[in-house]
């Protein structure tokens, strides 16, 4: 910070004041507060720099000033080039033929040179080649190269004129590699350089690059799409043979203009054709395109083979399915037949069983003396009634129930037991609502 200014005056030294070296320390500073400072801004950066390199304020200032000086020297170094004696003796009248960038010492930068670079280069050249300086040094008062410098600056600092010059700046062109050169491994390296240089004419920036063997298909396609539809600002006014003069009559002027226009158009067409030719060349040599096509073909073939295989498989599957169905149908039919036969047998067996069971049931009543206490002789009516009841009950019973009952009655001999079993069974049937009490005559 610059020194502050105070308006009030300093006090006068009291007469009795005495100290060694005119300095008297009385106390140290109070304890500081620890705080975080924000790591932002130029002054913080200076603070961090001082702290990290352990510099004091004045040391740091000195070092910074030195660095600044060095930097300035370096940036001037960029634009210092040896001057060609041929160029120095050029005639300023032939300004169209001169290389403006070389005159300013910018031949390395060319169309890449920024405005500030051009300005700096101009200043530097002027300092060296000013006629006054030459006169002072005692040499001739030839100021033709100074005029060349002025003309070069005039052209390069005017965006329109600079583009016109850049359009025809052959020194910035990169020769396309021959087929032989490009066949070797440096195909991409050489062609990239060519297109990087051509890309300066594009109205659209950035321009897609050729890339290398690892580029994706999209990138490659982008590149060729872009360059086959190249939108160029290149124009050829700079090479006009005649420039119409205000003194000439207008017919003459128009004639010259027409001639110039035609020449420009012709050159532009040639340029477009040239670029087309370049592109065709690079495309012809570009192995990536072939690889992509191969991959695509393979992909397509694969698809076709897959499809065919799938179709074949579908047909086979269908056939198999039909056969399977046929087989299943046959089996089902056979099974049904067998079942039918089986059913017949079973039915017969069941019928026999029922008959047998019925016999058992009937005989059980008979064995139990028609449900009368032993000794008593059953009357004919009793026999009839009991058998009737048995018939009724049997009619209501399922074959399974009958079999169950028969098995339960099978082993019994005493009338009581038989009676009990019968009663139980009848009661069960009554509860199930199958037998009604009024149907029965004896057993209730």
């Amino acid at each position: 910070m610059a020194a502050a200014q105070a308006s009030l005056p300093l006090p006068v030294l009291p007469s009795e004041w005495q100290a060694d070296g005119n300095f008297k320390a009385t106390a140290s500073l109070s304890t500081p507060v620890q705080r975080n400072i924000e790591a932002v801004g130029p002054h913080f950066l200076a603070h961090a720099r001082r702290l990290r390199h352990r510099r004091t304020f004045s040391e740091d200032e000195k070092i910074q000033a030195q660095q600044k000086l060095q930097k300035a020297d370096q940036s001037d170094g960029e634009i210092s080039e040896p001057e060609d004696p041929m160029m120095l003796s050029r005639d300023a009248k032939d300004w169209k033929g001169q290389d403006h960038y070389a005159v300013l010492g910018l031949s390395k930068h060319r169309w890449r040179a920024t405005e500030s670079q051009i300005k700096r280069a101009h200043r530097k050249k002027v300092l060296r080649h000013h006629p006054d300086k030459k006169a002072a040094a005692g040499s001739s008062e030839d100021d033709s190269f100074f005029k060349c410098i002025q003309k070069a600056t005039e052209v390069l600092l005017d965006p329109v004129k600079r583009r016109q010059f850049d359009s025809v700046d052959e020194a910035a062109d990169v020769e396309p590699p021959t087929k032989k050169q490009a066949q070797q491994s440096n195909f991409y390296k050489l062609w990239n350089k060519v297109f990087d240089s051509e890309s300066r004419f594009s109205k659209h920036q950035p321009v897609p690059r050729l890339g290398d063997e690892k580029s994706t298909k999209e990138d490659v396609n982008d590149f060729y799409d872009f360059w086959y539809n190249f939108d160029s600002w290149r124009s050829f006014e700079y090479q006009d043979e005649d420039v119409p003069d205000d003194n000439e009559n207008r017919d003459q002027k128009r004639h010259i203009e027409r001639k110039n226009n035609n020449a420009r158009k012709k050159k532009k067409t040639e340029d477009t054709a040239r670029l087309r030719g370049l592109l065709n060349d690079v495309q012809a040599g570009d192995v990536r395109i072939k690889e992509f096509r191969k991959a695509e073909q393979a992909n397509k073939n694969k698809k076709r083979i897959d499809r065919e295989a799938a179709e074949k498989k579908a047909v086979e599957d269908k056939k198999k399915q039909a056969e399977e169905q046929e087989r299943l149908k046959k089996e089902a039919e056979e099974a049904a037949k067998a079942e039918k036969a089986e059913g017949k047998k079973a039915k017969e067996a069941a019928k026999n069983a029922v008959k047998k069971n019925k016999r058992v049931l009937k005989s059980s009543v008979k064995d139990a003396n028609y449900l009368l206490p032993p000794g008593e002789v059953a009357s004919a009516k009793r026999v009839d009634d009991v058998l009737n009841d048995v018939e009724v009950v049997m009619a209501k019973m399922e074959p399974e129930e009958m079999a169950l009952l028969a098995s339960r009655l099978g082993g019994l001999k005493t009338a009581d037991a038989v009676d009990m079993v019968w009663n139980e069974e009848i009661k069960r049937l009554m509860d199930a609502g199958k037998v009604k009490p009024e149907d029965l005559r004896v057993v209730k």
Binding site: M1, A2, A3, A4, Q5, A6, S7, L8, P9, L10, P11, V12, L13, P14, W17, A19, G21, N22, F23, K24, A25, T26, A27, S28, L29, S30, T31, P32, V33, Q34, R35, N36, I37, E38, A39, V40, G41, P42, H43, F44, L45, H47, A48, R49, R50, L51, R52, T56, F57, H109, R112, A113, T114, Q117, D196, S199, Q205, P206
Partner: protein, 589 residues
């Protein structure tokens, strides 16, 4: 960084790295802003995106798999609120349990996802919604911003300086840095928003380097942050911060929404606030009306088919609006007052107030701040200062300037420089100055040389006048504390003018009486209370009308080097103060 080298290959004239500089702002209504900047020939310029917006709302919306961003996405809040993510910055790097989901009421709602936050949105063409984490949303947002910047520059943007609020935790910073990395952006540094705002002002060529206390009020859409910062020779230290999520632009919108809703109810008997879609429409329009009121005295609000298919149009003037929103305005002012108090400072200590954030466009806030602070305090806001920087892009500009400063450094260098070992420094507890007029503490006048809260090491110089006659002078260095002297003005003797004056003047005298009934306004003044003397230096035989330059150099260990010499003279007197011993400090007065 291959791509960057490629860029340099093609265009060697731009040797500087390219930066995307963004402010990841909280979004929603009034200042949902992201601005990007680049530096062009030393000047920061805010880039507009494809739609021409310089302030880009941090909103992403998805319609049938297509992504909308910025203002376009904001319009989706009405029709497609479920697939519109409108508020996510403050959720980054936070636990689901720690977030406040209220601002998301009118947009996609946050959900729990592995303890972090996610949104369930239909971001593809399929019908089923996808769960997208907040980090992914931030990545997409940054990617869009970077893409706009890259389109503008014609070169890929691969690094950024991002500003964050002062209460952003380390986890949040890490999450943001990860989100940026996923978007292909290297975060060079995170800068706190208030410091970035100061930097934007301090980097202007007309700015002069001074020691000052600055209040930065970032009044946003959903939150307001106030910070008190000591700027000492271009080094900034944050003294205190306050954050308020209840006082922000959204509250101003709410005032307008309520006002117009009442008007609508009066006419049509329906409350547009009941229907979410009507509310969303009204919200968008209310915001536009608020902005119009910041510029003009009258503003129109018109919404087609607000509720029940009824169109609504109404006007409001600024006075009415300021009356309605008085409460919100006063809470803005209170927030600033509280922050100053929490830094142990007085209103009189503040040299500058920087208003940042979109809500700062409101003229009423500036004018009430103007009446709060003394007239010497500069209020930097669009309505008080014609040369003020656009408050919405302030911190983005600051970030751009910071990026240009650190562009030559490696990320390792930056990391080392921002390490706490560098940033935590001792700050002076008291001001240091020189006694003028008289060396006697009682009669002399203290002239400040080094201000309180200056980070050491520091160096200050001052040029003092010698007494008129010249001769020997004494330079007495002292510590001092600032105190606020409160005096009440002597009550004016009452003039009983009723008898003398005409009846017409009665009203006036009544008014006078009313005034004198009020408490007399206090006069507050800064005064210096001189503390312990540090050193005395004699400069002998100063010429008539001569000047004495005093330089004080305080080292990091608090040792002091003092030099006093006559301007234009030879030699001078040097002396040193030893660094304070810890034991002594407690007892030193």
């Amino acid at each position: 960084m291959e791509s960057q080298e490629e860029v340099e290959d093609i265009q060697p004239e731009t040797l500087n790295r390219i930066y995307y500089l963004g402010k990841l702002e909280s979004n929603v209504i009034h200042t949902p802003r992201d601005a990007k900047e680049i530096l062009q020939e030393g000047k920061a310029e805010v880039i507009a995106n494809e739609e021409g917006d310089r302030n880009i709302p941090s909103i992403l919306a998805y319609v049938e798999g297509e992504e909308y961003h910025g203002t376009q996405a904001k319009n989706q809040l009405v029709r497609n609120s479920k697939n519109t993510v409108a508020y996510f910055r403050d959720y980054l790097g936070k636990d689901f349990s720690a977030i406040d989901p209220t601002p998301c009421q009118a947009s996609a709602h946050p959900q729990k996802h592995d303890s972090t936050v996610a949104f369930s949105i239909q971001d593809t063409e399929s019908e089923s919604p996808n769960t997208v984490t907040v980090s992914e949303i931030a990545t997409r947002h940054i990617r869009r911003l970077a893409a706009s910047a890259s389109d503008y520059l014609g070169r890929r943007v691969n690094a950024a300086v991002i500003t964050v609020p002062t209460n952003f935790s380390d986890e949040q910073k890490e999450a943001l840095s990860k989100a940026a990395k996923d978007a292909g952006i290297e975060v060079l540094q995170m800068v706190s928003e208030p410091t970035a705002a100061i930097l934007a002002y301090d980097a202007r060529p007309e700015a002069e380097l001074k020691d000052k206390i600055i209040v930065v009020a970032d009044l946003g859409g959903t939150r307001s942050d106030v910070a008190v910062i000591a700027s000492r020779g271009g080094i900034y230290s944050i003294l205190s911060t306050k954050h308020d999520y209840e006082t922000a632009g959204a509250q101003l919108d709410q005032v307008l929404i309520d006002h117009f809703s009442k008007e609508f109810i009066k006419k049509h008997k329906t409350d547009p606030r009941q229907n979410p879609r009507s509310l969303a429409k009204l919200k968008l329009e209310a915001e536009a009306t608020k902005k119009a009121l910041s510029l003009g005295g009258n503003a129109v609000l018109s919404v087609e088919s607000l509720a029940d298919g009824v169109d609504f149009a109404s006007t409001i003037n600024r006075t009415r609006y300021e009356l309605l929103a008085g409460k919100v305005f006063s809470s803005f002012v209170n927030l600033i007052k509280e922050t100053i108090q929490s830094a142990d400072l007085d209103i009189l200590d503040v040299d500058e107030v920087i208003l940042s954030g979109g809500t700062s466009h409101t003229p009423r806030i500036s004018s009430s701040l103007q009446s709060l602070f003394p007239p010497e305090t500069r209020i930097l806001s669009p309505s008080t200062l014609p040369t003020a920087v656009d408050p919405a892009s302030l911190s983005a500009r600051g970030a751009a300037i910071q990026a240009s400063l650190i562009s030559e450094y490696d990320s390792e260098d930056i990391e080392q420089s921002t390490h706490p070992a560098v940033t935590v420094t001792p700050h002076l507890a008291n001001a240091i100055g020189i006694m003028t007029v008289s060396e006697d503490v009682k009669r002399g006048v203290f002239t400040q040389l080094v201000t309180k809260d200056t980070a050491v090491p520091c160096r200050r110089a001052i040029v003092m006048n010698a007494p008129k006659g010249g001769g020997d002078v004494i330079v007495k260095l002292c510590e001092a504390e600032r105190e606020i002297e409160v005096t009440k003005p002597e009550p004016k003797p009452k003039t009983n003018g009723a008898a003398k004056k005409d009846d017409d003047d009665d009203d006036d005298s009544d008014l006078d009486d009313d005034d004198s009934d009020d408490e007399p306004e206090e006069i507050r003044k800064k005064i210096w209370k001189v503390g312990k003397p540090l050193a005395e230096i004699a400069v002998r035989e100063v010429k008539k009308g001569g000047k004495v330059e005093v330089t004080v150099n305080i080292a990091a260990d608090m040792g002091v080097q003092i030099t006093a010499r006559e301007v234009g003279g030879k030699g001078g007197v040097r002396g040193a103060l030893e660094k304070p011993k810890p034991a002594e400090n407690g007892t030193a007065s």
